[in-house]
């Protein structure tokens, strides 16, 4: 399963499904990471984590561990 964590910096991916449970899954979807949305991975923080992505016209940062619950194609 390819997840958002595997997407390289400067590349885009389309969301297939949000896995996980509880608050993190809820929050990820509330922030607009839903089925079929296109996410562009912009950069990684200077210490190697978290990452910054662009979707729905705004910038979002999330940790790599949390990016693993987002299945992309």
């Amino acid at each position: 399963m390819k997840t958002l964590r595997d997407v390289r910096i400067g590349e885009s991916a389309r969301v297939v499904k949000v896995h996980g449970q509880g608050n993190i899954r809820r929050r990820v979807m509330d922030m607009g990471i839903t089925k079929n949305v296109e996410i562009f991975v912009r950069k990684v923080a200077p210490l190697g984590d978290p990452i910054e992505v662009n979707l729905r016209g705004y910038e979002l940062s999330l940790r790599k561990d949390d990016a693993e619950i987002i299945e992309v194609s």
């Binding site: 949000v18 996980g20 449970q21 210490l47 940062s61």
Partner: protein, 720 residues
């Protein structure tokens, strides 16, 4: 008849600016009951009977954070007459997600599309009327910053609220979902008021346990509803909660398609260009260091310290105190009353006020960092370093300021969104040696270690180690358990901050500190004054002359509890009372020793008393004393700001108790294990010290109960 209007919107949508523009200075800042989240209320300008309630900035009503829970509970339980929903016109897609949820609450709503000036500048267009039609609500296009159309918004919102009516949401989900929702309404919700049915139906469809419990549905009914949900999930090949989230966004996309002309995609905005440099992989840390240095240097070192010194020494020391003492003496006021007013109250109030200049400067900076959008980048840059200790990346700023003074540092913790992180920061910040602890460090270093720099270095290292260790230990305790709030954070576009906003926020924060903290400090100052200046001379209870502190109540207390500090190597009343006097302000520890050893006034490092100290302490017991003073309960001003920020007596006592037990345990371990290593004599206390060390290591390295749980959860989620 009074009217209540709630102001709701995403963080960074300009909600604070709008609230300030709508209410002017008629604001009351408090806390939501029982939590550390700020609550603001105000009177709408030009409408004296309209109360505005500023809800916390939220992205959704789904209660995945404390702020969402507060906002949701307020909207559902307090039944405001209307909602002003402010949305960022430059970022409508995500902002309108909350709008779709708010609309389902059945409360009349006005949509305020903010930052219209920026929208126009970027070349985009929004058809406000069409947007309003899509949601069935009035739309006002505003700029909160430039205060355009604010009066119009106030007028329309008041009008909507005066109707005291209900609102039925217009937006619809796709056929299969609507079918399920309709069925749920029919079987489970027909006894609920019509305007609330949709909200409940959606929540039941999402399998929200809170709502299931609230409605106390029978097991039979639940199973029936579950069937509807399952069928719909099969049809859409997705989970019910993601179907709802996705369909909300689909609806918004569809609406925006019709009502907006977007700017060309792929073009970089000025904000993107700034961010390319500011959070660049190589440049981010140097830029961060420079920004932090400037904040620290100006607020702690130059302006802050200079003005604090001026308030302390000049304003209070040379102008107010002599003038007031003189006046009191002239009027023939009784000696004890003079003492209470001058040494007790004035000195106590002075200790609060002397922090104010530093605090004002710091809060101006914090406002600048927050409103410009840089604060979110601080969290982005520092997250990796801090999250292991249960802290937020934003904890960096309180820790840094804490090396100057813990009082403004603890208040700076308010910029941290997550309540766990905020509490952890408040508890651990005063481990960092503040400016007032430096004289104590200098005294011990000078008297026992030849004034070597490594003592001070060791003190900072100890402070940082205490923060890190406490973070790891506390994170695993039940107090900080429960599901961690996720770190999924918006990085808002950089903006020029509005000066008015920064000033209003600074004023709110500083004045609320003065109000709350001064009462505690006043009371404490009076108590401390009383126990220091009163005592028994030859069996008579009386007010003491200066230099008689060894006969005071505090000395009696010190004597009574000196045995507690025996295992730390300094179980005699003088060091015990000196350590206690550190509650007033940490530098008082030095002057207390001065008085005890008969020197009266001493220099900052206490050079005069070094030889007396060397007679009373061994280097080892002096180290243990220093450790205790550095780590245990902070001064009373800090305690009162902890009280202010925690908004809970229980959490404050926990914080103070925790610090004191850490200070005591570490001092005990150092003294006892040191004695053992030096002399080879193993006593019962050595055993206790080893046991304490073992306990601490266990607390530090035991697996976190939470980590195990959430891993299982995550795996289950992936399999499902």
């Amino acid at each position: 008849m009074s009217i209540t209007i709630a102001v709701a919107g995403n963080p960074n949508s300009g909600k604070t600016t709008l609230f300030n523009a709508l209410t002017g200075s008629n604001q009351y800042v408090g806390n939501w009951p029982g939590v550390t989240v700020e609550k603001k209320e105000g009177i709408l300008i030009g409408h004296p009977k309209v109360v505005l309630v500023d809800l916390p900035g939220i992205y959704s009503l789904s209660t995945s954070s404390l702020e969402e829970e507060l906002a949701r509970d307020y909207l559902l339980e307090s039944n405001p007459d209307a909602i002003i929903n402010i949305v960022d016109g430059t970022n409508l897609e995500r902002n309108l997600y909350l709008t779709t949820q708010l609309a389902e609450l059945g409360i009349p709503m006005v949509l305020a599309v903010n930052m219209m000036d920026e929208v126009e500048k970027s070349g985009a267009k929004i058809d406000g009327a069409a947007l309003g039609n899509a949601f069935g609500v009035p739309v006002v296009e505003i700029s909160a910053l430039r205060e355009t159309q604010i009066d119009e918004l106030a007028r329309i919102a008041t009008l909507a609220a005066q109707k005291k009516g209900h609102f039925l949401p217009l937006h619809r989900f796709s056929g299969g979902v609507e079918h399920a929702l309709g069925h749920i309404e029919e079987v489970a919700l027909h006894q609920q008021p019509e305007h609330k049915q949709r909200w409940y139906a959606v929540k039941l469809f999402e399998r929200n346990e809170l709502v299931e419990a609230e409605l106390s549905l029978s097991a039979e009914l639940k199973a029936h509803i579950e069937q509807d949900i399952r069928q719909c999930e099969l049809e859409y090949d997705d989970d019910s909660d993601s179907i709802i989230a996705a369909e909300r966004y689909d609806f918004i996309e569809e609406v925006l398609e019709k009502v907006t002309v977007r700017k060309k995609a792929g073009e970089m905005s000025p904000s993107d260009r700034i961010d390319r440099i500011v959070t660049n992989r190589c440049l981010a840390l140097p830029i961060f260091a420079v920004v932090m240095f400037v904040v620290y240097y100006v607020s702690v070192n130059t302006v802050g310290a200079g003005m604090t010194e001026w308030t302390n020494d000049k304003l209070f020391g040379q102008i107010l105190l002599p003038a007031i003492s003189g006046a009191l003496a002239d009027w023939g006021v009784a000696g004890w009353l003079q003492g209470l007013l001058v040494d007790g109250i004035l000195a106590g109030v002075g200790s609060v006020l002397s922090f104010l200049p530093q605090m004002v400067v710091l809060f101006l900076f914090l406002g600048l960092l927050e409103f410009s959008g840089y604060m979110a980048r601080v969290a982005f840059i520092m997250d990796r370093m801090f999250r292991k200790f249960g802290l937020s990346g934003k904890s960096f700023i309180p820790m840094l300021i804490g090396s100057g003074c813990s009082v403004p540092a603890i208040m700076a913790a308010r910029t941290i969104e997550n309540e766990h992180d905020r509490r952890m920061t408040v508890i651990t910040t005063s481990f960092i040696p503040c400016g007032a602890k430096l004289p104590v460090i200098a005294m011990i270093a000078g008297a026992f270690f030849g004034g070597k720099g490594w003592v001070a270095f060791g003190a900072y290292f100890l402070g940082i180690a205490a923060v890190v260790i406490s973070g790891i230990i506390l994170k695993k305790t039940p107090l900080f358990q429960g599901e961690a709030a996720p770190f999924v954070m918006e990085l808002p576009a950089y903006r020029w901050p509005s000066l008015k906003n920064i000033f209003v926020t600074t004023w709110d924060r500083v004045s609320s500190f003065v109000k709350k903290a001064s009462t505690i400090i006043l009371l404490a100052a009076i108590v401390i004054w009383f126990v220091t200046y009163f005592g028994w001379v030859d069996g008579d209870f009386q007010m003491l002359a200066s230099g008689q502190i060894d006969q005071s109540i505090v000395a009696a207390i010190g004597n009574a509890i000196a045995w507690i500090f025996k295992p730390l190597g300094w179980g005699e009343w003088r060091p015990v009372v000196a350590a206690l006097s550190g509650l007033v302000a940490k530098e008082t520890v030095v002057s207390s020793f001065g008085i005890f050893y008969g020197f009266g006034e001493v220099a900052e490092g206490g050079q005069e008393i070094w030889s007396s100290l060397r007679a009373a302490f061994s280097p080892l017991s002096a180290t243990s004393f220093l450790i205790f003073v550095l780590l245990s309960a902070p001064c009373i001003a800090t305690i009162s700001s902890i009280r202010r920020e925690m908004n809970s007596a229980a959490w404050t006592s926990f914080a103070i108790g925790y610090m004191t037990s850490i200070g005591y345990s570490v001092a005990l371990m150092v003294y006892q294990l040191g004695t053992w290593l030096q002399s080879g004599a193993f006593s019962a206390w050595t055993g206790i010290a080893l046991a304490l060390l073992g306990l601490m290591l266990w607390l530090l390295f035991r697996p976190s109960p939470k980590a195990v749980g959430s891993l299982k959860q995550a795996n289950a989620g992936v399999r499902g």
